[in-house]
Symmetry: C2
Subunit: 208 residues, 2 copies
DNA sequence: CCGCATCCGTTTCGATACTG
DNA sequence: CAGTATCGAAACGGATGCGG
């Protein structure tokens, strides 16, 4: 059901929420409309994706994961965690949508105890921005909104975020070097990487 | 790296141990030799698979996962767990290799506390047999050999094993009905399903 | 615009035959 | 046994068109 090209990538996109046909097309580099149609139809038949028409005035079609589809989240997260090992350093021309980082940070959030801090993270790339909250404590989570006040707000690019969360670059050094910006309790910043479990990429191998 | 057809299935096969070209071909229904060659070559370039020549007198080539490849185990396991919801009942003509069940049982083994029993399981289908040990206790595991003595030995087909482990069929009833055979402490048999965390398939939906 | 359907040149696939 | 060679069928990417 999932082994064909594009299928798991479509599921990944829809894990971020319902999307329109053209949204999916724009976020999946190189997919052709006919293939996207075919995959969505098939995923709908399989019961992994539902198709809905928004009420007026929007009145456009959106695709959304069903319960069966959402159940793929742990599998996709494990694939994301695995893929992390090949992500350093980010290659030139590699497009990483900021809100993919929501999945990446969630997939890599430390499930055990971590410092009880709340960070607001604003990830910017190519005019797009994703805002998310990373919450430490007994069980870490990553969410798109929260009532808890963030002690620190970090503004960073996608590559800078990856470097800092993976521990490849120290947050305070990144701040000094201007790679990230931060407002709030700068001291808490040093604990940020402790909120994640990242497989450190070995410097040696970097397949094409 | 993994999105193409066959690739994840090849990884799944190799998670069970090193395999020869023709073994892989026989276990992947419908793959053509040229495609298998292409996929193996690519996986080797990517550093997920290694190719080795066995010392004489065997002197044949085997393919084996590298550390990077083996790191896919959690992702494959999550996919297996997810797929379990579509596995009941087993369709006619659906070929399930007995040793795939080693992966399935391992993927679904309850990670939390479970009854401290050891079961030997002999899964037979189409003249092939897989022998494995399911060990309960504080942390359940599934292995292919153990020094612990098994309290019960179960002999079952693939579909019967799936039915019993998922809780769809009670072990003692399965025994009475002749769907499985057992030697040893029959009373312990009733605890067998407690060694697994299985997503119970909803009877409603069963996509093609 | 959005959601496709259609067409077309290219790539890839599956099946089978064949070779070192 | 481990692939390579070949060939028709299917799938793909890209462009274009078209109705709502």
């Amino acid at each position: 059901m999932l082994g064909e090209r594009w299928t798991l990538l479509i599921v990944r996109e829809l894990l971020l929420g319902p999307k329109r046909f053209s949204d999916l097309r724009a976020r999946l580099d190189g997919i052709s409309p006919s293939v996207l149609t075919e995959r969505l139809t098939r995923l709908e038949q399989l019961g992994l994706v539902g198709r809905f028409t928004l009420p007026p005035p929007a009145a456009s079609t959106v695709y959304e994961l069903t319960d069966h589809g959402r159940a793929l989240r742990p599998a996709v997260f494990e694939l994301i965690r695995w893929g992390g090992r090949f992500l350093h350093p980010v290659r030139k021309g590699e497009r990483i949508e900021p809100d993919w980082m929501l999945l990446a940070l969630d997939a890599c959030a430390r499930r055990g105890p971590s410092p009880p801090r709340t960070f607001q993270l604003r990830i910017r790339d190519q005019g797009k921005e994703a805002i998310l909250y990373v919450i430490g404590g007994p069980s870490g989570t990553v969410v798109t909104d929260t009532h808890a006040a963030a002690e620190v707000t970090i503004v960073a690019s996608v590559p800078a975020t990856l470097s800092v969360m993976s521990g490849a670059m120290d947050p305070l050094e990144a701040l000094k070097a201007g790679r990230i910006k931060a407002t709030g309790d700068h001291a808490a910043l040093a604990e940020f990487p402790q909120l994640f479990d990242v497989v450190r990429p070995e410097p040696q191998k970097r397949p094409a």
